[in-house]
Structures are given as structure tokens and as C-alpha cells.
């Protein structure tokens, strides 16, 4: 089973408290915040590795990011992926989810061609984290699937591959009415939520092995996409001004005695009528 996992390097979500908006430029200042693999994408990678170990095959990782993000792909290889692809070009910059997913879909097709030019798609499954910690739109998995003409399902909390003959997956997802089990025909795109598993830690052996695994970097000279369809120019949404919401409240101290604090809380509740 060939599995492709999309990952995104993002500024470390643990440090979003440090983000500020520059008063003059109105841009977000993110200096000093290190990049990490988007948390949910690590869950996607873990799920891909587990499925490969169960069913055989290879795990490919793909990211669209600046070239300095190379080390995040090496991290993915150290976790257990077999091959990595980084698509990187200034022309991809400023892309919204529409233009980003367009590039990802083009890269997936090109990787697939390299594996098996006879097949429409050489992957049985494309995995991704449900949403990125920074933009958090949760659009990219579904949109990548649409560009590829594949079925998709997001927010999956459990995944099982069917028998080889079936070429289908069973995916569990919380829906409005309760919990639903979906059958999704492969190839398909599945976006996983962080509940699905606990991503493995990287060990020294993984790091040594990662250095010998193939990592390919492509620019738009390789993908050859029309400049009008990528980056800011290819994005139907355009960003405007940023604001930081002011959520400050009075912060009255209820004291350091649990008994007295609980009494106060009960009083506040009664006064509010609940």
C-alpha cells in the first residue's frame, strides 16, 4: 500500500502567546518562534506508518514550504517515512488554501508518475492532519482531494484498511447525530484529528536512517504550473487587516481558600440565576 502524507511546518503553537502585530506594518511578528511539524500532521504520519507496517508498501511525505523547512521533512523521515518531497518556490508564496491545495495536488500527481506512470494515481491513500495550528481552516485535505477527483473525509478519529480486494477504508467520525462509520473507496484523502493516535517519538536510529532516505526538492520549474494559478495571484481569498481581540476582564481574586472560593462561586451562580 502506497501512502502519501501531507505535512506542514508551522510556527510552534505552544508559543502563539508571543505573537504580536507590528503597529506600523500591521503584519504579524513571528520572529523567534521555531517551526515544528503541524501537530495533527504528525498524527497523520503515525497513522500512515502504522498502516504501512501492517499492509506493506511505502510512506511518502510531501510539504509545500520554504526551503529552510527541509529539516522538518528529515524529521518525518526519522519518524519512519520512506521518501520525502518538498515543493518550494517564491511563486507559491501568499497562497490561500485553494492555491495551496492546487500545488499539492500537482505535486502528488508528479510523484505518482515517478512511481508508476501507468496508474492514474500510484497512491492508495493520502493522509493529512485535519487542520494546521496556524491557519486552522481545515480546508486543504478536502480541496486537495477535489483537485485530484478523489473522495475525502475530514476529522477522522479512527481508520482501518479493508481487505486488499476491497480497496476501501473504514473511517470513524463524529457527526451531528452521533458517531458514524464511513466506507471510503480508495484512493481517497483522509484528514485525521489528533485523537486518532499518539505519534511516536524520534529515536537516534531513526535519525541515522533518515540521512540515507531520498529527499527531493522541486520548484515550479519542475511542476510547471501557470503563475496565475499559484501563490497570491492564484488565491481567490485576499487577506486584509489583522486585529488582536481584547479579551481582558476584571480578574477579581476569590482568595486562596478552596472552601471560601467555592462559597463565593455558589453566590455568583445564584446571583446570575443559574
Amino acid at each position: 500500500m502506497n501512502i502519501l502524507v501531507c505535512i506542514k511546518p508551522v510556527p510552534d503553537p505552544e508559543k502563539y502567546g508571543q505573537l504580536k502585530i507590528d503597529e506600523k506594518t500591521k503584519r504579524l511578528v513571528r520572529e523567534g518562534i521555531p517551526a515544528v511539524i503541524n501537530p495533527a500532521d504528525k498524527n497523520a504520519l503515525e497513522e500512515g506508518i502504522k498502516l504501512r507496517d501492517l499492509k506493506g508498501g511505502r510512506v511518502f511525505v510531501l510539504a509545500m514550504a520554504p526551503e529552510f523547512s527541509r529539516d522538518k521533512l528529515i524529521e518525518a523521515l526519522a519518524m519512519g517515512a520512506d521518501e520525502a518531497y518538498l515543493v518550494s518556490d517564491k511563486a507559491f508564496g501568499g497562497a490561500d488554501t485553494y492555491a495551496t491545495s492546487y500545488v499539492l495536488a500537482a505535486a502528488i500527481k508528479k510523484i505518482s508518475q515517478g512511481i508508476d506512470p501507468q496508474r492514474d494515481l500510484a497512491f492508495d491513500l493520502v493522509l493529512a492532519g485535519n487542520e494546521s495550528a496556524d491557519g486552522a481552516t481545515a480546508h486543504v485535505p478536502a480541496q486537495t482531494a477535489e483537485w485530484l477527483g478523489l473522495p475525502h473525509l475530514c476529522k477522522v478519529s479512527r481508520l482501518e484498511a479493508g481487505d486488499e480486494s476491497e480497496n476501501a477504508f473504514r473511517a470513524w467520525k463524529r457527526v451531528e447525530a452521533g458517531k458514524a462509520v464511513f466506507q471510503v473507496n480508495g484512493p481517497c484523502v483522509i484528514a485525521v484529528s489528533t485523537e486518532i493516535n499518539k505519534p511516536r517519538l524520534i529515536n537516534a536510529m531513526g535519525i541515522i536512517k533518515a540521512k540515507k532516505k531520498p529527499l527531493t526538492i522541486w520548484s515550479n520549474e519542475d511542476l510547471r504550473l501557470d503563475e496565475k494559478t499559484i501563490g497570491l495571484a492564484g488565491s481567490p481569498t485576499q487577506p486584509g487587516e489583522l486585529i488582536t481581540p481584547d479579551l481582558r476582564r476584571a480578574s477579581i481574586d476569590l482568595g486562596s481558600d478552596a472552601e471560601a472560593a467555592a462559597d463565593e462561586i455558589v453566590k455568583i451562580m445564584k446571583k446570575a440565576g443559574v
Binding site: 473525509l153 486584509g240 478552596a258 472560593a261 467555592a262 462561586i265
Partner: protein, 300 residues
């Protein structure tokens, strides 16, 4: 898009024909308030397909035929799958999880979208393509029945599930949840600091006893202490507006604060005196969350 260019506004509703989803009223009322006095036609597109692929294929044709200027979709588990798919199919932009929809100083419609876990909110414009799609989490807009004005209703003919590569094979209904937290007037919310499954159960018991709701933050879901994402409050979970919200062991990440900012009273208990949640609270106590949970259980 300038306000004056908006001629047709569509709200997609996954509810049944005679039984709109609560979020439909919220979104429709908000749009009608926003565009009051303008010559705008409002349309309810009703499609009750629960299979997201079937829903996309069914409503795509209707949207193409109607060509609305704005299309608003509730960010339910279904809507979150449908909206981005429609974006690609209709070659248009989608603004995710809007915290607000406004007409800005230049008379342009702006979708206000949180990023970096709600730390910032940015304007998103969709200038060149139609419809300009937005998703809105249920509960973001309040609804008072008085707001509801006229709209035209379109009942969608659902295509057969046979043409879908995706099928629902089993649905396990969840028995009457005590935690309809969007509607609760009192919420007990647990964060990483509650520390265990037992503590989550205590919060649920408190909620049950008082007729309130129990909610949580992301770590509680990921630690497997009981609740699933359905109980999660924040930008990627629910937006709540209770009279009283009591948070236990919550650090105060921006994405959670975004989901509780409309609460009348926010009370926070955390043993970390530097917890960010305190600044955003009306009342605070630097105490062990579990001690206060136990005291409250005795008193309520």
C-alpha cells in the same frame, strides 16, 4: 465585494425541510441584520443529505443555477467538509470559521477569520469570484426569533448515494447528551490541569446535578479522559455563551478564549498563578482545580 454589489445571499441548511438547523436561523438573521435596507434576495438552500459527498454533488448544481453572491455554511462536521469542496468545484474562495461578518469602513464585506489559535483575527476578502463562501461555527451569531424576515426556500433534490465513493455504513446515535453546551446557561469546563478521567467525570456529575453542561479543551480530548471533540470549546470546537462559565485547570490558550468570550461571567480556577486565562476572567482563584470541584460538589 462592495455591500451594494450583493444581490443574492444563500444560506445552506442541512436541516429537514420544515425543521431548519438552529445554525440556519443564526446565520440568516445575522445576514439580514447586516444587509438591512439593501435590495437583497435571501435564499435558504435546504439539503438534508448526511453524506458529505452526496451533499456536495447535490447542492453544487443548485448553487451554479442560482449564482448567489454570498454563500454561508454552518461549520458543523458536515459543513466543514462541504464548504472547501465547493470552493474548488465552483472556483471560488472560502473563509473558514468566521468570528464575524462585517461591512468595513470602505463599504466592503469582510469575513473576520481567526488565525494562530484565535490570537489574531484577520479580514478576509473574496473580491473576484462568486459566491464568496464563509463557514460559521454554530453559536457564533446569537439568534432572537424576532430577527427572522422573509426568505425564499429551495428544497434540493438529492442525488443517489450510489454515485459516491463515500458511504455512511453505520451510525451510532448518542443517547440524549446532557452536554448540549451551546445552549447551557452554566458550563463547567475542564482543561489539562484537571489531570484525570475521574475529574472529568466529576465535572459531568456537577453539570448533571445543576442542569448545566460540561465542556473541555483539546488536551482533555487527546489525553483520553472521556470526552470527544464534541465537548470541546474553542475555535476548533464549540462557541458558547452561558450566563456563568467556570473553568478548571485551564491555561487560557487563545483558541479556547475565543470560544468563551461571549459568556456573561467567566470564573477560572488554576493553581498556576501565571495562567493566561486569569486576565480574561471576571473572577479567579489560584487553587487546585480538584479541591474546588470537590467543594462545589458538596455545596451544589
Amino acid at each position: 465585494m462592495k455591500k451594494s454589489e450583493i444581490k443574492k445571499v444563500m444560506v445552506y441548511d442541512q436541516g429537514l425541510a420544515g425543521q431548519p438547523h438552529p445554525s440556519f436561523w443564526q446565520n440568516m438573521a445575522k445576514l439580514q441584520r447586516l444587509l438591512q435596507g439593501e435590495q437583497v434576495e435571501f435564499v435558504r438552500l435546504c439539503c438534508h443529505c448526511e453524506n458529505p459527498q452526496q451533499a456536495v454533488l447535490s447542492i453544487e448544481q443548485v448553487i451554479k443555477a442560482e449564482s448567489p453572491d454570498l454563500l454561508v455554511i454552518a461549520a458543523t462536521p458536515l459543513g466543514e467538509e462541504v464548504a472547501p469542496a465547493l470552493g474548488v468545484r465552483l472556483k471560488t474562495g472560502v473563509a473558514a470559521h468566521c468570528a464575524d461578518i462585517v461591512i468595513n469602513g470602505e463599504d466592503r464585506i469582510a469575513y473576520m477569520v481567526p488565525a494562530f489559535g484565535g490570537k489574531v483575527i484577520g479580514e478576509i476578502f473574496i473580491p473576484g469570484s462568486r459566491p464568496a463562501i464563509a463557514t460559521v461555527k454554530p453559536g457564533v451569531f446569537s439568534y432572537d426569533k424576532k430577527d427572522a424576515a422573509d426568505y425564499r426556500e429551495i428544497l434540493c433534490d438529492c442525488i443517489s448515494e450510489d454515485s459516491c465513493g463515500l458511504r455512511i455504513v453505520e451510525t451510532e446515535e448518542i443517547a440524549q447528551q446532557q452536554s448540549a453546551i451551546e445552549k447551557a446557561e452554566l458550563i463547567f469546563c475542564g482543561g489539562f490541569g484537571i489531570g484525570s478521567k475521574e475529574s472529568w467525570q466529576k465535572l459531568e456529575a456537577l453539570a448533571k446535578k445543576t442542569g448545566g453542561g460540561a465542556g473541555c479543551t483539546r488536551p482533555v480530548v487527546d489525553m483520553d479522559w472521556g470526552p470527544d471533540e464534541y465537548y470541546m470549546i474553542g475555535t476548533s470546537g464549540k462557541t458558547v455563551r452561558p450566563k456563568v462559565y467556570i473553568g478548571f485547570g485551564i491555561s487560557g490558550a487563545a483558541h479556547h478564549l475565543c470560544g468563551i468570550k461571549d459568556a456573561d461571567i467567566i470564573i477560572s480556577i488554576n493553581n498556576d498563578k501565571n495562567a493566561e486565562v486569569f486576565a480574561a476572567s471576571d473572577y479567579k482563584a489560584v487553587l487546585d482545580a480538584n479541591q474546588v470541584i470537590d467543594r462545589l460538589a458538596e455545596k451544589l
